[in-house]
């Protein structure tokens, strides 16, 4: 769902860049306040894995392929939507600047869609489903599906405002493909959350009380 240069007029891309920079500043504040020394290498390895898995396009039928976005994964593992903004912003900058995946002018929009919307939808859908169905891994999978589909619908609205896609046709096409791609996002996210939280149980904030979470952060 990386929007290329030329899909959004220059003036509109500036607005998305401003929104993206605002959230990047908030993500840096999150890192300063919440990111413990012990978690720094975990954040970095998560970024490396998200880069690799984003490059792996799996067929989803309908002549289309898709890959994990990773916003929900980052937000769920690290317990904050700002973790997704932090990791996805840097990964998207690297993809755009070095590998030509996603535009430079449209990078702000891509950060807003995949990092900000993906991260916030992934995080809050996870906490919502987790409190309803209790199972953290199923909740992570469902949250990841929404964190793939909703950013795709946001992108189709942005492309409608840009005059590139028609509104209804764009939402039908983007929604259909990303509903299928979201299944990949859901399965990989659920498995990855399971593996990571079993390897490092202290990262599993979802089963901790507030006091326990505070102790782990302080440790």
């Amino acid at each position: 769902m990386h929007i290329p240069d030329g899909f959004i007029p220059l003036l509109q891309t500036i607005i998305y860049w401003i929104i993206a920079l605002l959230f990047i500043a908030l993500a840096l504040r999150w890192a300063r306040k919440e990111l413990s020394e012990e978690k720094v290498p975990i954040v970095a390895v998560l970024a490396a894995a998200i880069f690799a898995i984003q490059a792996f396009n799996l067929p989803v039928g309908m002549g289309t392929s898709g890959h994990l976005v990773g916003g929900a994964l980052a937000a769920i593992i690290l317990g904050s939507p700002y973790a997704a903004v932090f990791i996805l912003s840097i990964v998207l900058i690297i993809q755009g600047v070095i590998f030509g995946d996603g535009g430079i002018t449209t990078m702000g929009a891509n950060i807003v869609n995949m990092g900000v919307i993906g991260g916030f939808v992934g995080f809050y859908a996870f906490t919502g489903f987790k409190s309803a169905i209790k199972n953290p891994y199923v909740s992570a999978g469902i949250a990841a599906w929404f964190a793939c589909v909703i950013p795709a619908l946001a992108a189709s609205v942005e492309l409608w405002i840009a005059g590139t896609f028609p509104l209804v046709g764009g939402m039908i096409a983007m929604g259909t493909y990303h509903a299928a791609i979201g299944v990949i996002e859901a399965v990989i996210t659920a498995v990855a959350v399971y593996l990571i939280w079993h390897a490092r149980p202290e990262l599993d904030w979802s089963t901790m009380s507030q006091a326990e979470a505070g102790r782990v952060t302080a440790a």
Partner: protein, 114 residues
């Protein structure tokens, strides 16, 4: 609990394996956004296969264009070795830049070993 050093090594190893497998097995079909654009420009049906000659019109709006050093995750004209180098570069650069930014942003000069 897996130690941080082992967790990082295992994580990087998994990323490298996924990245290398992707080079050989990734689907050549367009992604969701590209497929949508092809449908909307009339080169593809919603649920049909993508015609091999379908080409994405990227210059909808005039303006900025940029040539990246490794477009499509490969060194230009180098085949599979160029794709492996690009993939390893991407994984390494992502790890190092995020590690550096996270250290600086979190105010820690050096991460603990183990």
């Amino acid at each position: 609990m897996m130690e941080t050093k082992h967790f990082v090594i295992a994580g990087i190893a998994i990323a490298v394996i996924i990245g290398l497998v992707a080079i050989f097995f990734a689907s050549a079909d367009p992604d969701g956004l590209e497929s949508s654009a092809l449908v909307l420009q009339g080169d593809k049906t919603l649920t049909g296969e993508t015609p091999p000659d379908a080409e994405l019109a990227e210059d909808v709006h005039d303006g900025f264009s940029y040539e990246s050093p490794m477009p499509d995750y490969e060194l230009p004209d180098t085949g599979i070795p160029g794709q492996v180098i690009a993939m390893l570069d991407g994984i390494g650069i992502s790890f190092i830049i995020v590690l550096g930014v996270a250290r600086v942003a979190s105010g820690k000069k050096e991460a603990k070993n183990g």
